[in-house]
Symmetry: C2
Subunit: 346 residues, 2 copies
Amino acid sequence: MSSFRISRRLVLSTLAALPALHAWPLPASAQAQAADPLPSWKGGRAKQSILDFVAAVTREGSPDFVPPPERIATFDNDGTLWVEQPMYTQLAFALDRVAALAPQHPAWKDKQPFKAVRERDMKALAESGERGMLELIMATHADMTTAEFEKIVSDWLATARHPRFQRPYTELIYQPMLELLTCLRANGFQTFIVSGGGIEFMRPWTESVYGVPPERVVGSSIKTRFEMRDGTPVLFRLPQVNFIDDKAGKPAGINEHIGRRPIAAFGNSDGDLEMLQWTTLAGNRRRLGLIVHHTDAEREYAYDRRSHFGRLDTALDAAAVNGWTVVSMKDDWTEIFPTSIGRAIK
Amino acid sequence: MSSFRISRRLVLSTLAALPALHAWPLPASAQAQAADPLPSWKGGRAKQSILDFVAAVTREGSPDFVPPPERIATFDNDGTLWVEQPMYTQLAFALDRVAALAPQHPAWKDKQPFKAVRERDMKALAESGERGMLELIMATHADMTTAEFEKIVSDWLATARHPRFQRPYTELIYQPMLELLTCLRANGFQTFIVSGGGIEFMRPWTESVYGVPPERVVGSSIKTRFEMRDGTPVLFRLPQVNFIDDKAGKPAGINEHIGRRPIAAFGNSDGDLEMLQWTTLAGNRRRLGLIVHHTDAEREYAYDRRSHFGRLDTALDAAAVNGWTVVSMKDDWTEIFPTSIGRAIK
């Protein structure tokens, strides 16, 4: 069963690379799948809102038609494309780094958020928010070159396992969202990630996992300094915040990196509110705003207004006011992860 | 004659959009041009170094082969793609804005660099450097939304004329560099602009003029603030530097925006030194570094080590040491601008 699902994903990825879906001589089984670009989405309002939007903006002559270069879609990452409970994956990475580096930093003992890490006080950690997480990351992940950091991230992801699902984090991605990314790209969209997470934490793996290349990843960052070392150029990571790509930072990050306003945006928390506003409330064009609502405690997690990570409160109210699609993971998705690990492991 | 050249440019642009150059049924004249992708480049070392590089990195099975997603080429703008004398175009724009706004700002009277603007003291202005120019830009171009700024830039470019050539600035672009951009894209490269100039000053026109879309433009920027105004989201431009994409800032800007190291970089001044180092001195792969040397006082300008704008001094020395291609505009280019206006107007 799981090999069938992996195979379907490969087929979909391949389709995305084709300029003209319909003209290609596909095997019959692939054609059947191409007929439904979102096979893990149950029929219903959420799925239909996506299909209607894609059809409207890609139909030449339609009043809603959007030329391909302007088909920009932005996706939050934590909680929208991959799991963010029981804590942000990047925080789990940071905790492991703190543990590894603590012996060299006695001053961390009584200082937050390091104290919370040492005491495994997840509540205090969560309360420090994405900004607190960034502080932790700066303190633990700076003072090295970008190449060194990339290697540390890749090595960690190759061995780290999620505490509940006991799988690599890069497998705890949402199958329906993979199908959505693929469907949009097959329809001429450029798909970008716009995340509060660290840009350099995501780039080593977003291309192989999501099909999103480094130049289409927007995220939080620390400053870097160019240096020539023995004739070799390096970028050295400094313990200084450069940019926080969260909440009101997301439209600024989109503007700085992409320079065009998206016509579709996908998020799951209050951190995505301003990105959804920026994308959908411009007035002159058909837009799609979508929120993934975590409603499935059995297969994944159920949380919203009171969660420490990925709180969804004001953005949920705004969704009702602004006509954004709200996806219930429990009711709208037949699958959560690319294989049945969610159900199998629980 | 000029209509022929425009037509050739159109042909080249069209070719760039085709995935397989050779398979397309071209008219005979276009085929002859396709045979030489750089018709405005005289045969010689500079042209050959480009053609050899492109052939090597695109030939499958070659030890120098680079997969298309990693074919990143970065171009400086001022003095590399368009004219930067007698001053940076963006500075000319800023001066016009200062003149327009001065009555509302009495404090500018005795304050640099505004004093220099009022007194048309170009030497003092030039000495303030790109950072001084950015200050001027912040003071004159902030306190408005990104949409308002885009309109001001577009309106100005539609009417402003270069003082010597009496043509719109967007026509004072280098025909051989247009051919190079097109040739690289036809060979699977992504072409990026990485300029010390303002990112929002370039984006309104780089797509139509160079074929470089907004998301592939990297530049200096000021901070923006997201606001909801009567239910409409805006990004408001703040008078605070966000990032200076010049000198050692260029590798940092490339890393932040693109997230991959280029395999080819094109510049013309000391501001491009670190970008060229970052691109070419990584060691493990064939790279191309190229410097446009302004040697043609008759058709354009001749300047290098002592110029206030676009000084080329340490980077020229570094070119000899590192094997970067140095292009003499006088000797290597048969044409300068897309039409013969340079020669006609002089």
